[in-house]
Symmetry: C2
Subunit: 250 residues, 2 copies
């Protein structure tokens, strides 16, 4: 088997750590998968699918390979790793977008991808410098949601705007003009929720891009955690848009 | 100076890592502070308060102590550490509570404390086995919000209920009977938002404790991250209760 090295942002591949995100990867992006490595210690449980059969059906190489798993797992208790070629995506201009301006934390980024996917924000713009969405930590925190989304990176917010003109822009800011719950009007599908960096937020210039929004909270805290703020916003907009899912009826 | 050791859950003290949570600690719990240790490398910036003067005014010992900072900081880039005696709190029966049943992750627990504080859930019940809310990782993720709250631990949810009878209980479950946004009625102050463990959630028995609630999301994800789900719920209940804060007017 090829010798896959520990992740670096400049290599062309990344990987999923664990059975569950590897299954998500195989379901969403089978052609991107270079191979699946399974530890000698992996024992299939009754509720697990048969990873070897699944790979065979998809024409994906799947082998017991203790050394590769050990090298890539990085002390984590992981028995299955899916190695995939990185890919580019184009955002859908007709759909809702999330945009993160200079997010710094890979865990937050992954959690936001998971949340975005849950509230039908399947298109994510990252404004540089931004955490690497293909980093195994981000992939892991996303629980594989990354593979069901389109993620694209832009050198600046203006470059993003030029590529997607005419959208309703909602920058989330501590001093936003509208409180989230005041936004009762239906939202046009082509809108973008914009969030800044964990420590610095969005600079004042973002008020000019659209309807800036604040999430009211007490002054006992300086701000909400970025992924919590994103979740609150995305859930509210999702509810406004009326596309209420009912997990009980499927 | 006494020799303070790296954190262990069975020692009587814990500590804040960094200037900002140490300042929160001094403001909220000055009598619990055993001492403040400052690295030789710490240089006060213009926007920082003078930690030495603040401590002196409070009668708290504050010393340059490179070795203690080095020992406790655990590779983090931290120059100020506040060491405090752990304390017990009693929850206020008249106020809204959050209850976490067996939370496993200290980062999630800290983020939830920060969020809870922001949405006026100042009373937090932890049902054992639960992550240690005094662990430096939880304190850090809370950004010091812990010190503005009351946190109490209970051997079981039934023990919690026996101590606080007559409350409106809202267990958050993937198959909750009510979707969050259906809950339009005003909420009684003495209510409790209940969340389960990150991996397992609440068991089916929790339907019987009150009005179980689900947060509608697409079936593209299995569940929301626990701290995101808590944020969505707490923000919505906070808005329902009508106590909207406006950070722009203070």
């Amino acid at each position: 088997m090829d010798k896959f090295k520990k992740y670096r942002s400049d290599t062309g591949y990344s990987y999923t750590l664990g059975l569950s995100p590897t299954v998500e990867l195989l379901a969403a992006m089978p052609r991107q998968v270079l191979c699946v490595c399974v530890s000698e210690r992996y024992v299939q449980r009754d509720e697990d699918l048969n990873i070897f059969e699944r790979c065979e059906a998809l024409g994906v190489r799947c082998e017991r390979d203790e050394r590769t798993v050990g090298r890539l797992a990085d002390k984590e208790n992981v028995y299955v790793i899916g190695i995939f070629e990185k890919y580019q995506s184009a955002l859908d201009p007709a759909l809702p977008h999330a945009a993160l301006v200079c997010p710094g934390d890979m865990g937050n980024l992954g959690t936001i991808m998971r949340t975005a996917c849950g509230f039908d924000y399947l298109d994510l713009a990252l404004i540089e410098p931004a955490a690497d969405h293909f980093h195994p930590k981000a992939v892991r925190a996303s629980m594989g949601a990354l593979f069901g989304m389109r993620v694209a990176r832009f050198a600046s917010f203006d470059e993003y705007l030029a590529a997607f003109p005419g959208r309703a822009i909602y920058p989330f800011m501590l001093d936003g003009r509208f409180e989230l719950h005041e936004l009762a009007a239906p939202v046009q599908a082509a809108h973008t929720l914009v969030f800044g960096n964990e420590a610095t937020g969005l600079d004042g210039g973002f008020h000019a891009y659209g309807s800036s929004v604040r999430i009211a909270h007490s002054d006992r805290i300086d701000s909400l955690n970025l992924s919590v703020a994103f979740g609150v916003a995305a859930c509210h907009f999702h509810a406004l848009s009326g596309k209420r899912h009912n997990p009980r009826s499927g």
